[in-house]
């Protein structure tokens, strides 16, 4: 089942500012282009604890699931100013 996109947008509100900022750019630049399969992956990613997710986004711990790699790379890239234009 495709997740509700409004609900997912709200779940991009996090406990840590670092992730809020990453997700704000991601929502603006990438979210609307995600496939249904990617939305399901994102849903799983959003269930991860904030400190662990931030560590995955900033690369200080390796990503445990290959299928999350493209999303993590999107989160990283859409989190930089250079890319937002």
């Amino acid at each position: 089942m495709t997740p509700n996109k409004g609900r997912m947008r709200w779940h991009c509100r996090r406990a840590l500012l670092e992730l809020d900022l990453v997700f704000a750019r991601f929502l603006e630049n990438r979210f609307d282009q995600l496939s249904d399969a990617q939305l399901v992956d994102l849903q799983d990613l959003l269930d991860i604890e904030d400190h662990d997710l931030w560590a995955m986004v900033n690369g200080s711990v390796p990503c445990p699931e290959d299928r999350w790699m493209p999303l993590l790379s999107m989160l990283r890239d859409s989190g930089t100013q250079d890319d937002s234009a």
Binding site: R7, R13, L16, H51, T80, Q81, D82
Partner: protein, 597 residues
């Protein structure tokens, strides 16, 4: 329109540390308890707290609560109420040990006791030497605390309403609080929560500033709701800032960067700290560095197209040193400033971190307001704890590790008081007023039907820029005066916000508009309270109240040793005395003195 109604013994708004601790007290006492939270409990901002929780356990170095009390009063620059501070410091060991029993994975000493580490401002023997008082779970203390409390609440059968946003307090004709209205985000429908007691534990409102370390959820919802319901806000001019947040993002760059040799520079590339602190330069204390940065920006030497930040330069360090010693900082700079600090300096600006003021309470967690001759009359049915409340233990400045302690002690205390008040029969379920939801429904209808209105993002940005410029870490008389006019203009724009997306289900645009209604109350309270307080004290530092022999640090106890109370209606200010008397007769007050470290 028919409105759903839920009835509970107690309703708690907010599921961070304070809300969860209060809920546990109620549920374990067998009271029917609902917790409303706009995000899942373990996504609350308490997660971000790293430093630890203060308690004078004395496991690593000799310690006692009298010393902790002294440090807290001094840290507060004597604006904290000494009865509440005594209460908090005496209760610290109890609440930390309780948490240990709930399964909190504290770091340990070899002998199995909780490991404690030193933290700024905490001392042995009344300021003589540093003490190890902070209990931590690695660098995830807040996270571990939330999980321990959440699990315990699940066991105690606390009922959570997750992704519900509280809208307004419901007060009856006597002024007593009898419930709240709330919107379920999944449906957009408004319900009434009717209860004997309402506890607010909604956290701070750091998002009123352009540069803030706070997560986006920190929109001061409880503080705004209290203000709209006629409850005054206490000491809202006091906000703790950190000197170096990434400009435009707010993410903290730790002091360690300057410790490793980082240099602050203005638009001309000048190492300006040499002028302000010739000896310590970039390693001067937080407030000196912050003030110097703001002076550079205000005098036109800021960097960037808006000249609104300065630069933190580590390009003279070798890439190897940066990669080895500061890898996290490099990542933050690349992510949030788009700059690799090996190649170019990081744009930084003083950044808002913590709200010292809030909804006035006593140490029992009861919300208090002036009535007749008593400036601390409890508002029946209304309680608050944590960053949204002002007990007041932090006064004009908070010590690190005292915020997690605050939410444990006063979350528990508010819960205990509610249990006592209900079990003694003092609190009963009063009837709802006929028009209980009308105010909230009118707000929702206004937003729904607004034509040719203002844009939520633009108004929020205008508010944040105004607060940053006019009521930042270092305050100027003229800027504050202009700031009052400016923020009242922004508040007018906030009255006519318009959302294009009218859908009822998971409408984040509507949420943001409702959050802005809360933020703007906090912003007005802050600006107006700050403009009025014509002294420097703790985190409130004014250019026209400098350090002089007659008034060290610019503090004016002759006129300003008092709490500010701001009322939303008419932006009226009132004041009440600071309680310099500890709770127990056997405890000596901490006498007024100059705050120096």
């Amino acid at each position: 329109m028919k409105i759903a109604k839920h009835t509970y013994d107690a309703v708690i708004v907010g599921a961070g540390g304070a809300g969860l601790r209060a809920a546990l007290q109620l549920s374990e006492s067998g009271l029917k308890t609902a917790v409303l939270t706009k995000v899942f409990p373990t996504r609350s901002h308490t997660v971000a707290a790293q430093g630890g929780v203060a308690a004078s356990l004395g496991n690593s170095t000799e310690d006692n609560w009298h010393w902790h009390m002294y440090d807290t009063v001094k840290g507060s620059d004597w604006l904290g109420d000494q009865d509440a501070i005594e209460f908090m410091c005496r209760k610290a060991n109890e609440v930390v040990v309780e948490l240990e029993h709930y399964g909190m994975p504290f770091d340990r000493l070899d002998n199995g006791k909780i490991y404690q580490r030193p933290f700024g401002g905490h001392s042995q023997n009344y300021g003589q030497s540093p003490v190890s008082r902070s209990c931590a779970a690695a660098d995830r203390t807040g996270h571990a605390m939330l999980h321990a409390l959440y699990q315990r609440n699940v066991r105690a059968k606390t009922q959570f309403f997750v992704e519900w946003m509280a809208l307004d307090l419901i007060r009856d004709a006597d002024g007593d609080v009898v419930g709240v209205t709330a919107m379920e985000m999944e449906t957009g429908e408004v319900s009434i929560f009717h209860a004997k007691a309402v506890i607010f534990a909604t956290g701070g409102a750091g998002r009123i500033y352009y540069s803030s370390t706070n997560a986006f959820i920190n929109t001061g919802d409880g503080v705004g709701m209290a203000a709209r319901a006629g409850v005054p806000l206490e000491d809202m001019e006091f906000w703790q800032f950190h000197p170096t947040g990434v400009a435009g993002a707010g993410v903290l760059i730790t002091e360690g960067v300057r410790g490793e040799g980082g240099i602050l520079r203005n638009a001309a590339g000048e190492r300006f700290m040499e002028r302000y602190a010739p000896n310590l330069k970039d390693l001067a204390s937080r407030d000196v560095v912050s003030r110097s940065m703001v002076t550079e920006i205000n005098e036109g030497r800021g960097c960037g197209p808006d000249k609104d930040h300065v630069l933190l330069d580590i390009t003279h360090l070798s890439p190897e040193t940066i990669m080895k010693r500061l890898p996290g900082i490099r990542e933050i700079s690349i992510q949030f400033a788009g700059i690799d600090p090996i190649k170019a300096p990081i744009p930084v600006v003083p950044t808002c971190h913590y709200q010292m003021g809030g909804i006035p309470t006593n140490y029992k967690g009861q919300v208090v307001a002036p009535k007749g001759d008593n400036s601390n009359t409890p508002v029946t049915g209304f309680y608050a704890a944590g960053e949204c409340a002002c007990a007041s233990v932090h006064g004009a400045n908070r010590l690190g590790t005292n915020s997690l302690l605050d939410l444990l002690v006063f979350g528990k205390s508010a819960g205990e008081t509610v249990v006592e008040d209900i079990q003694s029969g003092n609190l009963r379920l009063k009837p709802l007023p006929d028009n209980a939801a009308d105010f909230s429904l009118a707000r929702m209808a206004r937003l729904e039907n607004q034509k040719d209105g203002t844009n939520v993002h633009e108004v929020r940005l205008a508010m944040q820029r105004t607060m940053q410029k006019h009521a930042g870490v270092f305050r100027f008389s003229e800027l504050l005066q202009q700031g009052v006019t400016a923020i009242l203009e922004v508040a007018e724009q906030a009255k006519t916000t318009e959302i294009k997306d009218k859908s009822m289900v998971w409408n984040t645009a509507r949420m943001e508009a409702l959050e802005l209604d809360n933020l703007i109350e906090v912003a007005k309270a802050t600006m107006i309270s700050a403009e009025a307080r014509k002294e420097s004290r703790g985190a409130h530092v004014r250019d026209d109240a400098p350090d002089t022999p007659e008034f060290p640090n610019g503090r004016r106890d002759d006129e300003w040793l008092k709490h500010t109370l701001w009322y939303s209606e008419g932006n009226r200010l009132d004041y009440k005395p600071v309680n310099l008397q500890p709770m127990s007769e056997s405890v000596d007050p901490i006498a007024l003195a100059t705050r120096t470290y």
